[in-house]
Symmetry: C2
Subunit: 259 residues, 2 copies
């Protein structure tokens, strides 16, 4: 039975990222694996799609049960290419990551890793994004593989709730042991930017975007940030309906509806 | 009093788009206007931020009550530059658009216009994204200006609900009269992609991303797509908490929580 399962694997750190190899290692025992990932890192690309430039594709690896493509497109482009061009049937699940760095709290909105999972969700395909709280290209994923396998196994057996994808973040556990897994809500937080101002050799100004994350509710125990801070793995169910239903009545009280 | 208000205006169609001029025309009577918009069109950039390339900035216009900057960054970069670098106080409101083309249904997730409003919302600033269902660079915004003014006026007087921004879409009304305004939820829909396959002069394959919108619930009268199809203006309150609260209990039933 396992052999019949088809998994689409992608990320936003690029085809050569260690986190992608780690995720492929986790998923291979569960079925066939089709990988399509950006040629280069595409962190912070969110749900961007490429409409102004031609999209290129290369098959970079093929062996029994594993095919790998790379593309100059974004993570969402990669998912769209797989679903609409390269695969002859819908995959059973889309897995994205393992991202080098956190996608907890409001970072989920900026994340290319999670955008790929969200694109799966829009298309009705069960999807999970995985991230490790270590931005280093040399991040060590070995200690979280068994947890990723456990979550994948449960997702396959019990099913991801409809119209939902999962945002899974792993704490760094080089020094501290992971305590367990928590189902959480998205923490309220904001990136406070500081633009690093420089001058190029032609004396023209330019800026690098840098930022610091501000946790707006550090003491809320049901959030992903809190779980991660306390050395738990966080799982946030993410949905694609951005409607604030509780705001609808407030807006109707504007008496703006006419006609 | 009016003179004390400060508005940040941006878009994703670029500093020279007609829709931006239309929005500036709407907002100027309400206070000071600070514009920062991409140099070129950035449609489909969603919530992308620029971390791999230097960000450039140019002041392109200044007169009493109106300053305009352009940047090579994304719409979200533009908002971040304004909030963290260029403005000496937080604006009273962020307005994005008027977009050339729909941002109703799931298009809200791909939209740079709405990402700018969502970035305002993340930063606690009342924000509205406006879009007209006409993708043409020559789109005629004149007939919707009075509605944009009405919505802006109500938003200033009555307040946008906390942790929410507004996604306002205008139907094209060249032939049919706009019937009124409806507060809606986000329609369920998906873009079905078809990659246009070509070969370049070096005989290498490339693809253009093209797509067709599929409405998954065309008969649901409380959605933005339905309102627009029936010649109403749609307003969807959009929030930044992507947590699916109803899925949390289902996930807890996995018995995956440990530790």
């Amino acid at each position: 039975m396992k052999e019949d399962r088809l998994f689409l694997v992608t990320n936003d750190d690029g085809i050569n990222a260690r986190g992608l190899d780690a995720l492929i290692e986790v998923v291979r025992p569960f079925g066939k694996v089709f990988v399509i990932a950006p040629e280069e890192g595409q962190s912070g690309m969110s749900h961007a799609i490429t409409v102004k430039y031609p999209i290129r594709l290369s098959k970079v690896h093929e062996e029994k049960g594993l095919v790998k493509y790379s593309s100059n497109g974004t993570p969402v482009d990669c998912v769209k290419l797989a679903l609409n061009k390269l695969l002859d049937r819908a995959p059973d699940m889309i897995l994205s990551g393992i991202n080098h760095g956190s996608n907890a709290s409001s970072s989920v909105i900026y994340s290319g890793t999670m955008a790929a999972a969200i694109e799966g969700c829009i298309n009705g395909i069960p999807s999970i994004g995985f991230s490790l709280l270590d931005y280093s290209p040399d991040a060590n994923f070995s200690s979280v593989l068994k947890y990723a396998e456990m979550i994948l196994s449960d997702a396959l057996e019990k099913g991801i709730p409809d119209e939902t994808c999962l945002n899974v973040n792993f704490p760094v556990n080089t020094y501290k042991k992971i305590k367990g897994i928590r189902v959480c809500r998205q923490n309220k937080g904001v990136w406070k930017e500081e633009f690093d101002h420089r001058r190029d050799p032609q004396n023209r100004d330019y800026y690098w975007l840098t930022g610091e994350f501000i946790n707006l509710e550090p003491d809320a125990p049901d959030t992903d940030e809190y779980a991660l801070h306390n050395n738990y793995i966080s799982i946030v169910p993410v949905h694609i309906d951005l409607t604030s239903y509780k705001a609808i009545d407030k807006l109707r009280n504007w008496d703006i509806e006419t006609g």
